[in-house]
Each structure stands twice: as C-alpha cells, then as structure tokens.
Amino acid sequence: MSLASTATSISDELYLVTEFRRGKPRAFEIIFNKHYGALCYFAYEFVDDRDASEDIVSDVFIKLWTMRDNFHHLRAIKAFLYVSVRNACLNYLRRDKMMEHHKNNLVPDLLLEEQNDYVMTRIFEVEVIREIYESIEELPPQCKRVLRMTLQGMTTEDIALTMGLSKQTVRNTRVRATEMLRKRLMENAAAFGAATIILGAAIY
C-alpha cells in the first residue's frame, strides 16, 4: 500500500504516524507493507540468507511496534527500521563468522566510519529502488507487467511473445506506463518550492 506515494503530503504522513502511535494495527500494516520488501532485500545483501533476512526484519518490526510511542515522523521510523536491521545483520554475521559461508564477508571488520558509509550507500540504493518499485506497483495491470519485464531486461519481442501482444502494443504500453509514472512524480512535487529547473534527461 502506498498511502504516502499517492500524495506525499506531510499531513498524510503525520496522520499515518499519529494513528500508528495510537496503536492502530491498520496504520502499522501500512508502514509494514511499505517497507517489508525493501528491508528484506537490504538484510539479504548483508547476510546472504533469505530466511535469516525475513526473520531479522520480522523481529525488527515487532520491536518497532513495541516502541511505537517514540516516533513522530515517518522518517524517524524508517531510520529506526534500517538501523535496527543493520545492527541485527551485523550481530548475525559476527555470530556466524566461523561459518564458511560468511568467511568472506568483511563488513563487521570495517572501521565504524567505513561501515557507516557502506551501510548508508546500501540504504540509499534500496530506498531508491523501493520508490521505483512502489510506483510501478500502482500502475494498471498491463502497464505494470510490460514495465516489469522491460526492467528485467526482456526485449520487446520477448515481451510481445509472452503477453500475446504485438510489438507495437508493447511499445505503446511502455510509453503509457512511463508517462503515468512521470505524471505521478509531477503530482508529488509540492514538498519544496515552486519554480522548476530542468535537470538532466529522462533515463528510464
């Protein structure tokens, strides 16, 4: 669910956080749904084990729920989630250092400084991907499928074969999809100022 992505207005986020602090399971579920996949992926990049990633993330969400009184902004919640998952992953790695599997994982050995940069970069990347993932999920079904396959590296021809469409339809659908994404991005402006500067070209 993307409550915050349909309209990234501050009041929507504050409302969500307020409801969450008051213990509304639905608000918790929204926050969970928004971040679960990305956090698992983030953990997975550390521990290289799917089950362990999921366990770590679940534990962190339970911790978040019990500490819900402490958070006033969605960003604070995100920070807590990522930092907690990071810490849990590092603990996991230290414990399993002796296992062959992790012998080559140098993260726990990095200096704190370097660790922070490394982790920060991972978080940044995951968050960008999450935003993209979220916006694609909101597309209508056909647009979504075409875009997903495109991002997976499939050729127009392969997509056309898989979906039983003509190549031109696939191209048109892709254009429509990227236009919808772009339109949604435009609607999300409002957080900062008013004037617009064009920077860079579309890379999608």
Binding site: E29, W65, T121, I123, A189, G193
Partner: protein, 413 residues
Amino acid sequence: MERHEYDSFDSRLENVFRVAELIPRFKEGLLTFDETAFIADWLRESDANRRMFESMTIRESPKGRIEVIRSFEVNRQRAFQEIVERAGIQIPGVRRFRSRRVAGLLSLILVIGLGIYMCYRQVSSRPTVLPVVSLSPSKILPGRSTATLLLSNGQTVGLDSAHEGHISQQPGDVTLTNGNGQLSYISNGNASGEILYNTIVTNRGGQYKLILSDGTKVWLDASSSLHYPTTFSGKTREVTLAGQAYFEVAENKSQPFEVIVGGEKVRVLGTRFNIMAYPDEKSIETTLLQGAVAVSSGNADRTLHPGEQARLSGDGSLSVASVDADDYVAWKNGLIRLHHADVAMVMRQISRWYDVDVRYDLRGKVLPSWTLAGTIPRNTLTLEQVFKILWINGINCRLQSDAGSKMTVVVSL
C-alpha cells in the same frame, strides 16, 4: 554504537531518505528549484554522498533488484500475520481515532476468536491499493455557507456569497442583511402590528449563521431549517427547528426563548445550547453548554444543567445524561465529532455534509457492530481524504454516479 555516533548517523540517514525520494523526479527532470538546491548542498557534503548519487543516477538502472524486492513481497502477508500473533496485537472491537472515553464501550469489544481473526485476515489479504474510484472523490468538496431564505410573502432568496447586502421585505420593521455566511435581522424599532415569519433552509452540504432581531445567534447545520418571526412580540420568543442548530440566546428574562423541535419544546433562559433533531437519527439530543434549559415533551419535563444532554427517543421517552458538551457543538467549529457512532451514523454525517447519497454493498456481510469515536475536520478535508480516514478504520468507500448524476458513496467492508 555510541549515542553521538547514532545521532550523526541518524541525521545523515534522514537526508539520505530525502534524497532517495527525489531521485525518480531527478531522472525525469522534474525537480523544483528548492529540491535541486537541497541535493546540491547534500552532494557538497562528502565524497560518499557523491558516489551514492552517481551509483543510482548515472551508472545504475535498477532492473534485477526490483525483482528481488518482489520476491520477498510474496511472503509479506504471511509475515505480517506472524508478527500480529507474536506481538499479541489485538484486533480492536472499538476502532478509535481519537479516544476520549473508555467506559461503556467495553461492551462493544468483540471476542478475539478465530472468527474475528479470520475476518481481519480477510481484510489484510485484500490487495493493498486504494479503493478503486469510478469518480474522483477529491473533487467532492466539503460543505460551505449556503442556504435559502423563504420570506413571508413566499419569495425565496438564495443565501450565499453571490447575494450579499440588504434584503427587503414588507412591512419594514427590520433591516435584513446578508454577508459572509451570516444573515442579520436588526430591529428598526417601528413595530407594526403584523408578525412576519421567515424560514431559513439549508440543504446537504450547507450551513448558515443567523442573528435574530433580539440578538440571538443561531448556527444552522446541513439539512436543517429554522422557522421564526422577524420580530419578537408576545410573551415568548418562539422558533421552530428541524435538523441541527446551535443557539446563543440573547438574555431577556421577561420573554423566554423557546425552540419547538419534533415532539419537544425547549424553553431556555439566556443560554447556549445545541439541538440535534435529524429525522434519520434515533433521538433528538439537546445539549446545554451554559445557562439553563427546560426540556418538555408530552408529559415529561426535565431541566438541564450545563454539561447535560436530554435525549428524546422515538418512543417518547426522555432521558438526561452528562456529556462533554463541547463534543456536540464541535460541528459549528468545523469538526465532525463522533461518539459511539456506528458505521451507518458516520455515513449519514458524511452524506449531509458532502451532499452525497450512501449505499451499502455488503455482499451478505453484516455491518460491524463496533463504533467509531473521533474527529474529522470537515471544512478542510475533501471527500477523498475522508475516505482515507475511513479506510484506515476498516470502512471502504468509493464514489459512483448513478443515472441521473447523483453522487453515491458505495460502502463495502
């Protein structure tokens, strides 16, 4: 990790989130001036920042990594169920979004059993997208100051910002002006023998304020009407109400103010009170904020003190209870306050204020018996925003236009 390290990491992290949010717009060339400045500053802060930015904008296209996230999403619902169980999260029997009173509502806590759990699971296994809308509820604006005035000669005048200024009627013993959502009667002192009656009517989505010739102020809510004389002569000052209104009565001990509503007569002595008398609600509620009122109906007579509310129900019984009086007047300040409001009552309030019909599409399910308590700011929220609030509380609404263009909200669970 040391506290100070956590803090600086934390604030770096917040900026990382902000920048990550902006990357998709950056790639589309949609950044605003301030956003660009923000990113530029952030890039100047460190090499690490610059490397991060480059990795996601110049070199990288996410491709396969999106699929990895999706592969974890497959288990998401199951994972949430497990968390609910492990953390002992209770599915609420009473859904609140601002709680003021606990007592008396415990009777509505549903048994936390497999049945309810399955019901909740049903809810959370629905795809988590916003309710599909055939129309855009963001276009449905909240109510505003608009009403119709019916003069004694049968003429009607639309009251809104388009008709400001004097309204004349004969005989001219009052001056009548309309402006800023307010209709004022000022006595000219030339009392003629004839008593004229006016009626002010609000429809759904309307409200209006009135100052009667004795100085009494009346706030009229949606779907309401007030019938009153243009000047008050006689032993009492009598008005007739349907719907909901809040009164601040000008003091005049020699001429008591009376409100006739439904089967009830409310006699007041220089006070502030609210009367809610909608035909589709189950009782008429008279709530006293200040002063004293006597409520009588048939054979029953009760006197209210500030903070008390008289309830006259359909069977004619009259009861008095202590309440938080401000809650019942909140509507005049632009807030829909709900107390023990079941789903149907919430929807009736929404129907009146947003001027929509309501229809239920329950597919054999029963409306839940839990009730809502809380506040919806009604002047500033569009219907879409109200839908979001209801959605969080388990009520799904979508907007539809039936043949004949009436907007209908379809409620499902």
